[in-house]
């Protein structure tokens, strides 16, 4: 009985489909990578450090040609000149361009790890630093967009609350739906803000502007990986 329930449960079917995609598996490997990093710091484990390196390499394989997706998205946002909010549109364009640059430079990192290109000052230090800078600017664009969305949603909520207090007993179903959507948008933007802030924490430590303990960096990676897996799970 328990086995039947487990096998035919919709969540199991969904999880199988989640793992069958390239993106879902990449998110799982990201979680494993940062968990291995955390364990490496906690236990001074050589095995965990080796696993971290292995998962990092495999993730870079899985992200091959992913810059194309971001460039396509940037072009779409740029062409959408009729968007209601130009600030959000510009932030989306910048975010996708920076992420495309980050992933493109990451391909160079992969080739260096595979020893296809030799380790020099350029490939060993400068390009990793440039890729982290691109990741940081992409995240900053995301942060700006999230703040804008929070501001917009909050303004909508305030307007509806004021309208409700003025016209007592005159609530419509449409108003409730729009108000609910505004609350949902604000929550989504806040969640994304937290996500981008945690990723920014990771990249600032990579660049050396922050010098937090590595275990905190690893835990940030675990948290952002879980958030990413949640989004992929909903999309499945």
């Amino acid at each position: 009985m328990v086995c039947d329930t487990l096998v035919y449960h919709p969540s199991v079917t969904r999880f199988v489909k989640f793992l069958d995609g390239s993106a879902g598996r990449e998110k799982v490997l990201r979680l494993l990578q940062y968990l291995a990093r955390f364990l490496a710091v906690q236990n001074s484990s050589l095995l965990a450090r080796q696993l971290q390196a292995q998962f990092t390499t495999v993730r870079k394989f899985l992200r091959f040609l992913k810059p194309l997706n971001h460039l396509q998205a940037a072009a779409k946002f740029y062409d959408n000149k009729l968007a209601s909010d130009n600030v959000v549109r510009v932030c989306n364009v910048l975010k996708n361009i920076f992420f495309a640059a980050y992933l493109s430079l990451d391909q160079v990192n992969l080739l260096r790890i595979l020893k296809v290109i030799p380790v020099t000052v350029l490939t060993g230090k400068k390009i990793p630093r440039w890729s982290n800078w691109c990741w940081l600017f992409g995240l900053l664009s995301g942060l700006a967009m999230d703040l804008r969305k929070i501001q917009t949603s909050h303004a909508q909520i305030a307007a509806f609350v004021k309208a409700k207090s003025q016209s007592q007993g005159d609530e419509h179903e449409d108003h409730k739906k729009v108000l609910g959507k505004a609350y949902q948008d604000r929550y989504t933007a806040l969640r994304r803000l937290f996500w981008d802030a945690a990723d920014s924490f990771i990249v600032l430590n990579n660049l050396g502007y922050l010098s937090s303990n590595e275990e905190y960096v690893a835990l940030s990676g675990v948290v952002t990986s879980i958030l990413g897996m949640q989004d992929m799970w909903k999309a499945t």
Binding site: M1, C3, D4, L6, V7, Y8, V12, V16, L19, D20, G21, S22, R25, V28, L29, L47, Q50, L51, Q54, T57, V58, F61, L62, F64, L65, L68, L114, K115, V116
Partner: protein, 394 residues
């Protein structure tokens, strides 16, 4: 679960450790008959909807337009977004590099055999490499530099090949817990029937259960192999056993898939023959119809309404002919996919057989066969992706 583990340990102790050649990765998830059937159903449904087109000319133009809509970049993007696409590309790159490595080793050997002094002066020249030395001994310096370059490539190719192998293992990882749950579900179903022999035969003694068992058998040892590669466990004698069992499981899976595809091919050929006979009969009927019409005009008085209706039906029968042509095309397309699968599985079977039986084959045989398997798999994947994109754009 514990009983299964106990059985595994007992069988492990009974089997002598395998002392063959080092195991090379060429495993590939074979196409199951279910996906082939699903593809067939999809395409037959598509051809059914296409039969409603009014004229064959506009239909041909539409099909050409649909084919042109999907460009190669889009197909490549879809293939790379899927795990199976990345697996095929990784396989092709890995074995292409292995073959390249053989050529490099051959070049190194030729270089050292023809001129033994290269090895003598190798380290000396590399340490004191200047323009003066190069001008004094140009041929020797060129040979030394070439040898150094080849050695460098050799090490790099080894590393990349190993990384790609681990990458492919990780792509396959993760399926075993679900297969175990499915198997336990079946066992639970058997227990509910109070172990009646008829029910046991119905549940267990069929191809689907055999397929599930082989997938579980292969998956367990494949994932144990990956965990060994990641150094999570390090027992070398047990690794020999695991490696051996993985090869055997893969061989059983290949043979079962080959059998399925062969039977599928036979049924497709039978259907094709039936449709061709039907088409021939209709063509003969159409050839006879003008003669009958001519005679009908001569003997106008004897023509009955039923006879007239039959003659009209014969002339209007082009729709059926168009439908038969579409079905024949669908069958030919499906046969192409089956042939590709049979070729791929044959390559895998030959490669794995040389590994299991420890055959003394020329160097690179395994890599060439595996490269052939990867390429045919990629061609099949390309064709199926192209067709699915064309049908989705309708």
């Amino acid at each position: 679960m514990s009983q299964f583990g106990t059985t595994d340990i007992v069988s492990g102790s009974e089997t002598p450790p395998y002392s063959g050649a080092s195991y090379q990765d060429a495993q590939d998830d074979n196409t199951h008959p279910h996906s082939s059937d699903a593809g067939a159903e999809k395409f037959s449904a598509g051809s059914g909807s296409e039969s409603h087109t009014e004229s064959s000319r506009s239909d041909d133009e539409d099909s050409q337009a649909k084919t042109k809509m999907v460009d190669n970049i889009t197909i490549l993007k879809y293939i790379l977004d899927s795990l199976s696409g990345r697996d095929k590309l990784a396989k092709i790159i890995k074995y292409a590099l292995d073959i390249l490595k053989l050529f490099i080793e051959k070049s190194k050997r030729n270089l050292t055999v023809l001129d033994p002094s290269v090895l003598t002066y190798y380290t000396k020249i590399l340490k004191n490499l200047t323009v003066k030395v190069a001008l004094r001994h140009p041929i020797t310096v060129i040979k030394v530099l070439l040898l150094s370059l080849l050695r460098n490539f050799d090490k790099k190719i080894d590393f990349i090949s190993q990384q790609l192998s681990t990458f492919r293992y990780i792509l396959r990882f993760g399926g075993t817990p679900f297969r175990v749950c499915s198997f336990l579900g079946k066992f639970n179903k058997t227990r509910k029937c109070n172990f009646q022999i008829d029910q046991i035969k119905k549940i267990w003694f069929n191809e689907a259960s055999l397929r599930e068992f082989l997938d579980l058998y292969y998956g367990i040892f494949d994932e144990l192999d990956l965990l060994y590669k990641l150094k999570i466990w390090t027992n070398k004698s047990f690794y020999s056993f695991v490696s051996r069992q993985e090869s055997l499981a893969w061989q059983y899976d290949i043979l079962l898939s080959l059998k399925d595809h062969w039977l599928n091919l036979q049924s497709l050929q039978k259907r094709q023959l039936e449709l061709e006979v039907q088409l021939k009969v209709q063509n003969n009927a159409l050839l006879l119809s003008p003669i009958l019409m001519h005679q009908a005009h001569k003997d106008d008085g004897s023509q009955s309404p039923i006879r007239k209706q039959l003659l009209n039906d014969l002339n209007v029968n082009n729709d059926a002919e168009v439908l038969i042509h579409k079905q024949l095309k669908a069958i030919k397309d499906e046969k192409t996919l089956v042939y590709l699968d049979i070729a791929r599985l044959s390559f895998d079977c030959m490669a794995n057989t040389s590994d299991i039986l420890n055959l003394k084959t020329p160097k690179g045989t395994y890599a060439v066969l595996s490269l052939g398997s990867g390429l045919t798999g990629l061609v099949k994947l390309w064709i199926t992706t192209k067709r699915s994109l064309c049908s989705s754009k309708d």
